[in-house]
């Protein structure tokens, strides 16, 4: 009974915090002067600009997905399945951009390719006449989005490769060379992972606000934000957000149908993976990966370092933003803790299928994760901006609700993976011995799932810390976080201060990861 109550409470919380705002926003968009009307949508679809925005959004998302797949899958294979030297180091290096807000990468590229950027400084001023228009176009936006989201393909390719039954590849290796085995066996078997990555990259790109906004590339989330913050036209903002929501829902349904049909023999295996020897091609692959790492990761981060390389810049950065840094850390910690607790119960529900509605809860969490942050933000305001709930709307609680709405899917899935490693019999043995639900939870499940809990907290912390899209829309006065502060300072602060703030942002994001890596290393 206690177990059912806890799990039902978790589902209800997810619905109240995540789904209710989106539904409320949708209902409000159908109302004009208190009457039911489709006027907002008529206005939306009659405007030429909206169709241009939709086409820009789809173009950007499609091209980003294609390019990240083209580079990400081979890189994932090289890092996980071959004897490429320094492959672990490369994998870590390529994943770093995912940890930092993408618009910081855009800022770095601006310092490099802008009209008066480093490229123009080194190669001569005329070059800036070419690089700057490139950066402020689909091409530049693509460059930033690809470097920010390439890790999604790399991580999922590596993870799914790790789950292939090695015998499938060995059976093929009895009659074929590695290139043939990879093409015909390994890649088709991990295709659900590649497809999942494609869906994620597409959805994350189409919902991205920071990068297109920084590079003046007009897309739907930017329009939503402008309608909301510049024109205070809540209904127009909502109407502009709905196509993104519908698109997300459609992609999610396709993903579910496709993955359900195509789940091959993938499982967590303790057997060592078969490593493909690169042989004579090693120097070629090593050079190609090094060049890609230099362009996509080392260049933007080094530029921020070089740009901010003065004590004055860091001093100024701290003077302007110490309060935001502290708030960012506090809110991200609180958000990660809430996410871990909710993820613990929802992950248990998903893995153990304890209630009939486990699939619905998971679908809601995934839907919210894939929904653009601006949509969730507007939804939260539409639900909580009332006299009765002003205590939530006007406090940091609204930011936390945004984090929970958006990122519960991450902690839920991590916890579900953790629970899948704990045999049911362990909990059943405690139950037979007379332990109630909360005792089983505290004495058996939580201690055994502590790695999953730590992972869920850490991932939650990183995603809350880097969040711009939701926080930018919902933050009450004097509650801005560091990503929001950097974004708002960009227009009128010296470049070296912005670069210093970006480096601080990168450092505080990577700090917990480094700490965890050290703890793991020393504990073996």
């Amino acid at each position: 009974m206690a177990k059912k109550f806890t799990l039902w409470t978790s589902i209800c919380l997810l619905i109240l915090i995540g789904l209710a705002p989106v539904v409320s926003m949708f209902i409000q968009s159908l109302s004009v002067d208190g009457a039911l009307s489709l006027k907002n949508y008529e206005m939306l679809f009659q405007s030429r600009r909206e169709w241009l925005l939709l086409s820009n959004s789809l173009e950007l998302a499609g091209a980003t997905t294609l390019l990240t797949a083209l580079f990400g899958v081979p890189l994932g294979i090289l890092f996980e399945k071959t004897d490429l030297p320094f492959r672990r180091l490369f994998a870590i290096l390529f994943v770093i951009p995912l940890m930092i807000p993408p618009y910081i990468l855009a800022t770095a590229w601006f310092y490099c390719l802008g009209r008066d950027g480093y490229a123009a400084g080194i190669l001569g001023n005329p070059i800036g006449n070419y690089t700057s228009p490139f950066l402020f176009s689909l091409g530049g936006t693509l460059l930033v989005m690809v470097s920010a989201l390439l890790p999604v393909f790399i991580i999922l390719t590596m993870t799914y490769l790790r789950m292939i039954n090695p015998r499938l590849e060995e059976a093929a290796k009895l009659s074929a060379k590695w290139s043939f085995v990879l093409r015909k066996i390994s890649i088709p078997v991990i295709s659900p992972g590649i497809f999942l990555a494609a869906i994620f990259v597409f959805i994350l790109t189409i919902g991205e606000f920071g990068v297109p906004s920084s590079l003046h590339f007009d897309v739907f989330p930017v329009e939503s934000f402008i309608q909301f913050s510049a024109f205070y036209n809540f209904n127009a903002a909502t109407a502009a957000a709905i196509p993104l929501g519908l698109l997300t829902l459609m992609l999610l349904i396709i993903e579910r149908l496709f993955l359900r049909k195509k789940t091959f023999q993938l499982r967590l295996t303790r057997e060592p993976m078969i490593i493909v020897p690169l042989g004579k091609s090693m120097p070629f692959f090593l050079s190609a990966v090094s060049i890609a790492a230099f362009i996509l990761v080392i260049t933007p981060i080094s530029i921020l370092f070089i740009k901010s390389f003065s004590l004055r810049a860091y001093n100024e950065a701290f003077i302007q933003s110490t309060d935001s840094i502290v708030r960012s850390l506090l809110y991200a910690s609180a958000g990660a803790t809430c996410l871990t607790i909710l993820g613990l119960f929802l992950g248990y529900l998903l893995e153990r299928k304890s209630l009939r509605f486990f699939f619905a809860a998971d679908s809601i969490a995934i839907f919210l994760f894939t929904l653009p942050g601006t949509v969730i933000g507007i939804g939260l305001i539409s639900l909580w901006n009332t006299k009765v709930t002003n205590i939530i709307y006007a406090s940091a609680a609204i930011i936390l609700l945004g984090y929970i709405a958006k990122y519960t899917a991450l902690s839920e899935r991590i916890m579900a993976a953790g629970f899948s490693q704990i045999p049911r019999s362990m909990e059943e043995a405690a139950q037979i011995a007379g332990a109630g639900w909360f005792r089983r939870l505290s004495v058996i499940l939580i201690p055994l799932a502590k790695r999953g809990l730590a992972g869920a907290w850490l991932v939650g912390f990183i995603f809350c810390l880097r969040d711009l899209d939701i926080t930018m829309i919902v933050y009450p006065p004097a509650h801005d976080t560091l990503p929001v502060r950097i974004f708002t300072l960009m227009a009128n602060s010296p470049e070296e201060v912005i670069a210093a703030l970006s480096i601080i942002m990168v450092a505080i994001t990577l700090l917990p990861l480094g700490t965890l890596a050290l703890i793991t290393k020393y504990r073996g």
């Binding site: 060995e170 009895l174 009659s175 078997v189």
Partner: protein
């Protein structure tokens, strides 16, 4: 000799798995390597296939050095070996025809010959009507037959089988043993079969090799010793 194993040893994480094993196998023989779990029999089989490289010693196939002293000289795909794995390892995204055609395509066998060989082998394992079926829709026994057909369609000189019947119920196990014997006699292929089941070993082998703790405890010429003798070594 078609397979000659000379003093091979393998150590994993400082634990010796196979120690100084030597064995010679003649053309057309049915050798069963029998031993308890963890005795190194699968590792020995995987060394012959080329998936595990012995730290010491050498393996010769048809008088050609395929591996010696920690180095593979011939890749698995060039050893002319077929293998049936314990979990069968049928490719789930390919239907029966595609599973069988994979190796033939890799070896660039022309389409006509490819189809002919597939038809022929499917007939031999009595699975012709399942050509377009995916492995997930086949029963355990049918999957076994397809795994066997996939190995044999490549016309290998040696067929390796790693406890392929261990997950089947007794009736199906007995039926498939007979089919393996029939096919082996029909094709005349050399069979190296790994199992921990004594009955299976006795029903299939022309020679039984008993392994324990990484070493060969007993090997004989024609049909090794009595059941009691073998029990003494296990």
């Amino acid at each position: 000799m078609i397979v000659k194993i000379e003093n091979v040893s393998k150590i994993y994480d400082e634990v010796p798995i196979v120690t100084n094993v030597s064995l010679e196998i003649g053309k057309g023989e049915r050798v069963v390597i029998l031993g308890p779990s963890g005795c190194g029999k699968t590792t020995l089989l995987r060394m012959i296939a080329g998936f595990v490289v012995p730290d010491k010693g050498g393996i010769f196939i048809d008088d050609l050095i395929v591996t010696k002293d920690g180095k593979n000289y011939v890749e698995p795909e060039d050893r002319k070996i077929g293998m049936v794995f314990q979990d069968l390892a049928l490719w789930p995204h390919m239907n029966v025809y595609e599973n069988l055609a994979f190796g033939l395509k890799a070896k660039k066998i022309l389409k006509n010959e490819r189809n002919e060989r597939i038809e022929k082998i499917l007939e031999k394992v009595q699975m012709t009507e399942y050509k377009n079926t995916f492995p997930g829709s086949l029963s355990g026994g049918q999957q076994q037959r397809i795994a066997l057909a996939r190995a044999l369609v490549m016309q290998p000189k040696i067929l390796l089988m790693d406890e392929p019947l261990s997950s089947l119920d007794l009736d199906l196990n007995l039926l498939l043993r007979k089919e393996i014997l029939r096919l082996q006699e029909d094709i005349g292929i050399t069979l190296i079969y790994v199992t921990h089941d004594r009955d299976e070993a006795f029903s299939l082998a022309t020679r039984i090799v008993v392994m324990k703790r990484g070493r060969i405890m007993k090997t004989g010429g024609d049909k090794t010793g009595t059941s009691e003798e073998i029990s003494g070594h296990l």
